[in-house]
Every structure is written in C-alpha cells, then in structure tokens.
C-alpha cells in the first residue's frame, strides 16, 4: 500500500513537468505581448517597452525562459506579475483559499444532497419519487449555470432578501451558500442519477439476495452491502469533479463577485501574465493528480476485491 502510494507520487513528477511545459509553451505561442498590452490604446514609448521586456527576460528564447521559470519554481519562487509586480505566490495564496472554500462547500452539498436523493430514488425504482428525481435532475442538467445563478440571486436576494446579491465577505459561509449551491447543482444532478442507477441495479444482485436471506437488518443491508458497492462509479465521478468545480467556477464567480481562481486565471490569460497562468494551472494539475490518487485508494475501501500491492 505504502509503496503503491509512493510510486504514484513519483509518477506525478514527470506529469507535472510535462504539463507545466505544455502550458508554458502555449502561453508563449499566444499572440499579444503582455508589456505592449499594458500600454493600451493610448500613446506609449517603445523604448520603455523594450527596456521592461529585457528586464523581465521576455526577449529570451522559450527554452531559456522555461528553464529560468522551472529553476525558480523548484526553489519555491513562482515569480512576479508583469503589471502589478506582485509575487504570484501571494496572488495564489489569496485566491486559492477562496476557491477551495467555495469548492469544498459545493462539493459537500453535492455529496450529501446528491447521494441522499439518489438513495431515496434508487431504493424504489420507477416509483413516483424516482420519476420526480429524474425530472428535477433533467431541469438542473439542462439549465446553464448563469441562468440558475441569476434566478437564485433574484429570488433569494431581491425577492426574499435572505442574502446579499453578491458575496460581501468570502470568509463567511452564509455568503458563500448561494454560489456554492449554484456551482454544485450540475454535479448534484449527475451524482443523484449515478447513485440512483447503480443502486437500482445492485438491488437485484445476488449478494443482496444473500444478505436478505441471511436475515440481516435492513439498515445494514442498505448501508453496508448496497451502498458500498453502488458508490464506486459515484466516487470516480466525484474525483474528477472536484477539479472541475475549482476551474469551472468562473461563471458563478462572476455572477456572485467571488475573487477566486477562475477569475484570476482568466484575467491573467487576457493580460498574458504567463507566469500566473502557469502557476495556477500547475496547481490545478496537482489537485487533479492528487484527487485521482485519492479516488483509486477509495476504491479499495469501498470494494474489498480491489487491492494495491
């Protein structure tokens, strides 16, 4: 087990280097020069642009820029932004916790409500409540997140007045409630459907019959025998979803004015702040790698037939 984890962790290193290089090269290939873009529409002095570029090393070839970047990164230096001259580590340290909080909130919501609904429906396939769930999830899946976002904003902030229209304080979980629900609702629909289907299927399996025949109490049959096996596909989905929630929050972040990773990386991209984009994207790659490891380990918890040596 320990060796398996160690091996997986070691495998992350080439993946990490490869992905950072790809992102770095893509940023390099994009048209538009960040220093020139700073000067905007108005008059400017080309001598200043040239001088800033050479100070930042932007006039060097790609491989040299990448080597400098990586050697700094290994020493824990993410670099500084071209325009704001702020440490990128600071920028990440500011935006990441906000996104992480929002993501975890949305994730918890997805897991609790999604699996809950899925269980309720899956235990009685084709009943009224099962059909009801299908209809509800269909609505959630087909509704774009900005529609849901503005709708919730309108109902809860303007009609009922229970929350503020936008997030005033990103530390406050009450404020984050609306965006988290909006963010989590699409995944919620998938999770509910996945849970429901695999529960409904496993209900008919042999080991369930055996469990019932053994005379086990109902909560044990459902909670241990049925749930454990039915959650494998759900966990797979949730694993990749945590990364999606983090990066895909940009629309929701926009509607509710949350200054998270999505907005930060989008701004950096339009301003060609290469180092910021690569820094954040690398972190997200790490998040994906770690969650996929976590998911693989969870398989073993859920299904004793799966083992890692």
């Amino acid at each position: 087990m320990g060796r398996y984890v160690a091996r997986r962790l070691l495998q992350m290193i080439p993946v990490f280097i490869g992905s950072t290089f790809l992102i770095f090269a893509m940023m390099y290939a994009l048209p538009g020069d960040p220093v020139r873009a700073l000067m905007g529409d108005q008059a400017y002095d080309p001598a200043v642009v040239a001088s800033i570029r050479s100070d930042l090393g932007l006039d060097q070839p790609l491989w040299q820029q990448y080597l400098t970047y990586m050697s700094n990164l290994v020493q824990g230096d993410f670099g500084t932004e071209i325009a704001s001259k702020r440490e990128i580590a600071d920028i990440i340290a500011q935006a990441f916790p906000i996104t992480l909080r929002l993501t975890l909130f949305a994730f918890t919501f997805t897991v609790l409500v999604g699996i809950g609904l899925g269980v309720i429906a899956g235990l009685r396939p084709d009943s009224v409540r099962d059909r009801g769930l299908l209809a509800l999830t269909l609505v959630l899946i087909s509704m774009p997140s900005f529609v849901l976002g503005y709708l919730m904003q309108y109902i809860f902030a303007f009609q009922l007045g229970v929350t503020t229209a936008t997030v005033q304080d990103s530390e406050n979980f009450g404020d984050l409630m609306l965006p988290a629900i909006v963010l989590g609702s699409l995944s919620l629909a998938y999770v509910a459907r996945l849970t429901r289907t695999s529960m409904a299927e496993n209900l008919r399996s042999d080991y369930m019959r055996t469990a019932v025949a053994k005379g086990l109490p109902r909560h044990r049959i459902i909670g241990v025998h049925l749930m454990r096996n039915s959650l494998v596909p759900v966990v797979t989905f949730l694993g990749t979803d945590i990364g999606n929630l983090m990066t895909g929050a940009i629309v929701t972040e926009g509607i509710f004015n949350v200054q998270g990773i999505g907005k930060t990386i989008f701004d950096a991209l339009t301003r060609r702040e290469g180092a910021t984009v690569v820094g954040i994207a690398s972190l997200i790659v790490l998040v994906y790698l770690l969650t996929s490891l976590l998911v693989d380990l969870l398989y073993a918890v859920l299904d004793p037939r799966i083992r890692y040596a």
């Binding site: 529409d41 200043v48 902030a157 509607i255």
Partner: protein
Amino acid sequence: MRGAKSAKWVAGAIVVALAATACGSGSGDEGKKNASGKPEGYVSIDVGEPQKPLIPADTNETNGSYVIQSLFTQLLDFDAQGEIVYTNAESVETQDSKTWTVKLKSGWKFHNGEAVTAQSYVDAWNWYANIKNNQQNSFWFADIAGYDDVHPEKGDPKADKMSGLKVVDDTTFTITLKDKVPYFNYKLGYATFAPLPKVFFDDPKAFGQKPVGNGPYKFEKWTHKKLIQVAANPDYQGPNKAQNKGIQFKSYTTLEAAYQDVVSGNLDIIRQVGPTDLPKYKQDLGKGAIEQPYAAIQSLVPAFYSKTFKDIDPKVLQGLSMAIDRDTITKTVLNNTRTPATSFTPPQVKGNQDLGTDVFTYNPAKAKQLITEGGGVPENKLFIQYNSDGGHKEWVTAVCESIRKATGVDCVGDAKPDFPTDLEARDNDQVKSMYRGGWVADYPVNVNFIKELYHTSAESNNGRFSNKEIDGLMAKADKASSLEEAVKGYQEVEKKLLEQMPAIPLWYYRINGGHGEAVDNVKVDFHGDLELTGVTVK
C-alpha cells in the same frame, strides 16, 4: 483488512487537504464595520484592481488613475468645461511658450507631513523621465529640454536630471522646453505630473503598495483584488477638498455584479452600467442614473498599408463614412451610450468646431456616388478589426450591415480574441483593412485628438497615415506663441483631415453610470471620470 488500511491513507489525505484550507483562511478580515464592511460616511465605487503599483507616472488605465487622482494633486486641473483650475500651483505662466514659470501655493504638505516644494516636483519628474525606471508615461516629459539625456532611445541615460528643470526657490521652479509648446500648461493637468515625497526615493517598490501623496485623500489600505480604501485628508487646501469621509474602491468581477449591488444598496456608485442592464437602469436607479457625454471618440481607422486602402482616394473613405447610419446605430445597438460624431474632436475640448460638412451624415446615394468616383474599394470588400472581449461585436456588425446596404461594399468584422492580440496586429502592420480605434482625452485641447493620432511620427498612428502637408501645418501650429493661436492652427489641420480622412469618426462616448440613494452630488469630469471629492453622503 486491506480496506481498513487504505481507509487510513484516505483519512490522512483528507486531513492534509483540510489543513491546507485552514492555513489559507486567516487572510484579510479587518474592518468588518457593517454588512458591506464600509465605515460611516465613506463612499463606495466599483473601481477594480489597478494593473500596476500606485505610482503616478506608471498608471494610465482607469482603475489605477482613479486611485492616483484621489491620492495626488498635480499643479492644475480642469473643470467640467475643460478650463484650467489651479490646484497645487498658484500660477503657471509663460512669455514665449518655451520657458514656463511655476509658482506653488505655500503651506501644502504630503500626507506624512513633509512640505510640498518645487524640489518635490523637480525630483519626481526627473525620476519619472529616467529610462532606467521604466515608467509607462515617461514620454509625457519629452517636451522638456534634456529629456533625451535621461531617456535616450537606446542605451543607458547620460544624466539623471533634465537640464530644463530649475528650482528657483522653495515654491518656484522653471520649465524650459525643447521647442515652443503653447498648450504645455494643459498637459500639466495630467496625473503623471504629480510630485513625490522624499520617502518615495528610499523604496519605490514599497511606495507603490502604500503611496503617500499630497491629494484630497490619504491612503488607508489595499486588500488586493478586493478593496482599496482612502480617507479624507483634513489638512487638504485645494479647491477640491473631500466632501465625504473617504472612498472605498471595490473590485467587481463583472459589471452586472456591481450593478446588482448598487440596486440592493451594497455599493454607492457604479461607473458604467453593463449592456444587459442598460435598458432598465434609469427605471431602477431613478434620480441616481447618470448619463453624460465626455471627451472621447471612437473611429474606424484605415490601415494605409493594407491591400484595401493603399493609395486610396479619400473620396472612398468619405463615401464609407456617409454609408454609416450613426443615428440609428447609437440609438438602437448602442442603447444611447454614444453620440454621433460630427468632427475629429469631441465637443468638450478646446477648438472643437463645426466642420460644415455632410461627410458624417448618413446619405446612401451620395455615399455610393463618392465611392464610385474615387475608384471603389479594391475587391469590393473590407474588414473591420476589433477585439471581441470588449463588447464591440454588436456595433461592428451593425456598421458593416449599414455599409453593405448603402453601398454594396462587402464588409466583415475581423474579430481578435482579446485586446493584446488586437494591439499586436496593429503594431505589426497586420491589419487587413481597418481597425476600431478609441481615444480618451488626456487634456482638453484639440491637439490631443489630432497630433497624437495623425502625425506621421505619432506612436498611436497605427493606420500609418502620413501626409507632409498636414505634418507641416501641425509644426506651424506648434510654433504659435499663444494657446489660442495654436488651437486655431490645429483647427486648420482638422479641416485638412476632413479632406484626407485618416480615420472615419463614428461617435463620442457617454458615461452611463449611476448611484444609490445613500449618496448625492455625483458629477462627471471632462474625460468621463466621476468627481469623487464632491460626492456627499446622506
């Protein structure tokens, strides 16, 4: 039990993840005064994160400018009509438009108590102009004698002081220019000409995060990407003393989010209402709605190196101009956010004139006729380049439609995904036929809209328009000994521009903003910024 063992691993990973979030959550929770965290008597406005550190000569985008203008006061400023109002200066005078004498008001102090002297100005300007300091607005000092020594086109500076700046006494200094510039005092109203206290030179980097100015507000705090807070300066002596207790510049991810906050009372002022809310903002905000024109223009600029417009007969351009139905487009597609243009300069600047022409009036028949007379558009097709991240798509499509309908010339929008890409194509002479040009006044004189855009050597002349006669006329106007004469000279230039059509002016900008019920007296200045010092809290 394999399962139980790996459960431990999973639990361990979850603990690590939770610890990581807990680490990050200790940031920035100072100043929770009320629901929106605003101290009593302060005014909040949607001004996003400045792109750069807060140094006057390194800021020219709007967000940073708002903060800089609240913290710093330069020699003079302009009123809503574009007339000079002396702020830090007692007077700025000249006999020959070449040597200018500046007298400062005495008793002014920086926020740290240091006196504002002639030396504070001269030292600051020398630092700004120095190429080593990479200041974006350094070229603003290019008129001053000795600029080339501190800012050579290549290599290291030969001096660290411009010979044209001389301190006479504590409150007087003289500026000697390379050549006559009759409107130089108007340039001094630009925020770049602000003074700096001595602490700046110890550590410019730290200063950029925590500036000390001489303006109507004192810097309080900057929570990046969230908020900048400034407090009224009680010792301020200028005419624009703050009528409120302070300002909060709040960062919003979208115009829509900011608008929702104004409507629900969490934000006092919004500078620009987003396109989706424009149709209803007057209803929502009532008396709080702001709609006012300001000195800025949008044009279509032909690239005179392109296949389409190389050696084109100006008649074709006049024809294209007449094929654009400005009235209808501004009213419908643009929701009244613009006013149709009638010349190359907006009405708010000195020297704006009635050109007495029908080139800017929609007239399909004459448009067609002029284009035919001029030899037509090569390949009967043209492109309008724009950046698709700036909300230009709708009107570019409408303009194209208008041209196509009126003249039969095929017109297609050439979208660049974002502004940097758009600029790069302009700089590298890769514009296919014409691009969307925009210009906001730096100082309210027609020169700013003519020389900086259409002089052969102007940096922003990306259409590469070049006409010796017009360059000559500009040189002549610059030699005038009074502002009035220079302005008149440039009016002549503008008449020539109409004949040559270096650009097709489309419309002047209007500001469409608003404020909530908690504040009052929100006024707009000549280049479209809201005058925050005058805002009162009810």
